[in-house]
Symmetry: C2
Subunit: 216 residues, 2 copies
């Protein structure tokens, strides 16, 4: 994958969409500059998850934006998603890679140095540094890593990386300066009054930092 | 599949295992006469589900008893299970068959005549008639079908069938007499003081009814 696809990574949460459909928020966010979308569902049936994945896949294909499915490899296979994102308590990475094939994207959450050292020995496409800050949108997280954690992990990792957890326009620049290739956000876009504008604002901050860093 | 494999179908529920491991209960049940096992997990991580599936697959392979995974096609693929059982709100049947291949078992729960008519047009391996009686082990069920429902559905269905929901030694014979090829049980074995003996007792009842019916 192109590491620029990680720059502004939207992770969905329908409970934060203020009553709007996921497609409505995701389409607005993509128009604003989101570079990748992860469908995360924790409390719906497999049928609902599948139908939502099919709708998003169709929508995102028009914009050439990759769709990543959180945890559920079967849903990813069923909708021909571009990849899967797994955490440390999801299916083991080798199992996912084997079933998904080498042409799909597999991202892995890392929560500490040990996780990064394990990831370095795997052909994962990117790591999600989780959580950078405290967040209310995911309650089963490891301790916050902070900006020092992001610096340490990006220095150690051989893979592209994205920070996640409590990131918004007020701290997005720091994550990029700490070495991450991008930021992943949930509520900063899902719950924005204007998701397109929120995405555009975040993208502008990232573009500016990436340019300053000489990585663009 | 051989329809005799449906005769005594154990569906797991670790919360009903009285503190024993699933493997311990399943192995005893298989020694008692269980002919097929479905791993059903609703409240654990994908990693835990996968590890349990791998352990059961290894155990059951020794006894040549098929392992079916409830709902989660990815877990079935990951552990090379013998099949998947899907309900009406799981992944659509054609998607599951396509990803699993024609040599694996796919079972489908039916809750009314319409579901059976749809199933009749599909190459499902068996149907699960659900729920026959009221049950406390699954709370999201459709209305109970009763023995009349089992008679009606088995007459209508072109596929082998198993009844599920509130079945135990006291009503197992009636399910077979109503036309089902087998019974699926959860608590009647999972919560038995002696799962091997409980399975043996159920198997004896089924064998006797199958013999009387002239289907054996």
């Amino acid at each position: 994958m192109d590491r620029k696809e990680l720059e502004l990574y939207l992770v969905t949460d329908r409970s934060l969409a203020l009553g709007r459909s996921l497609e409505e928020v995701v389409e607005a966010a993509v128009k604003g500059g989101v570079t990748m979308v992860q469908l995360r569902e924790k409390n719906c049936s497999s049928m609902e998850f599948y139908r939502e994945a099919v709708r998003l896949k169709r929508l995102l294909a028009d914009y050439r934006i990759p769709l990543i499915v959180n945890d559920r490899l079967d849903i990813a296979l069923a909708c021909d998603a571009d990849g899967v994102h797994i955490g440390q308590s999801d299916l083991p990475y080798p199992v996912v890679r084997n079933l998904l094939g080498k042409n799909k994207i597999v991202g892995l959450s890392v929560e500490n140095r040990e996780d990064v050292e394990v990831a370095n020995r795997l052909d994962v496409d990117y790591i999600g540094i989780s959580p950078v800050f405290s967040t209310s949108t995911k309650t089963d997280t490891a301790p916050r890593l902070g900006l020092e954690g992001v610096e340490e992990i990006t220095a150690l990792s051989v893979h592209p990386s994205v920070g996640i957890g409590g990131i918004y326009s007020g701290n997005a620049a720091e994550i990029i300066r700490a070495g991450a290739d991008g930021i992943a956000v949930v509520s900063a876009i899902m719950s924005a009054d204007d998701p397109q504008q929120a995405a555009a604002e975040l993208k502008k901050i990232i573009d500016s930092e990436v340019k300053k860093s000489g990585r663009s």
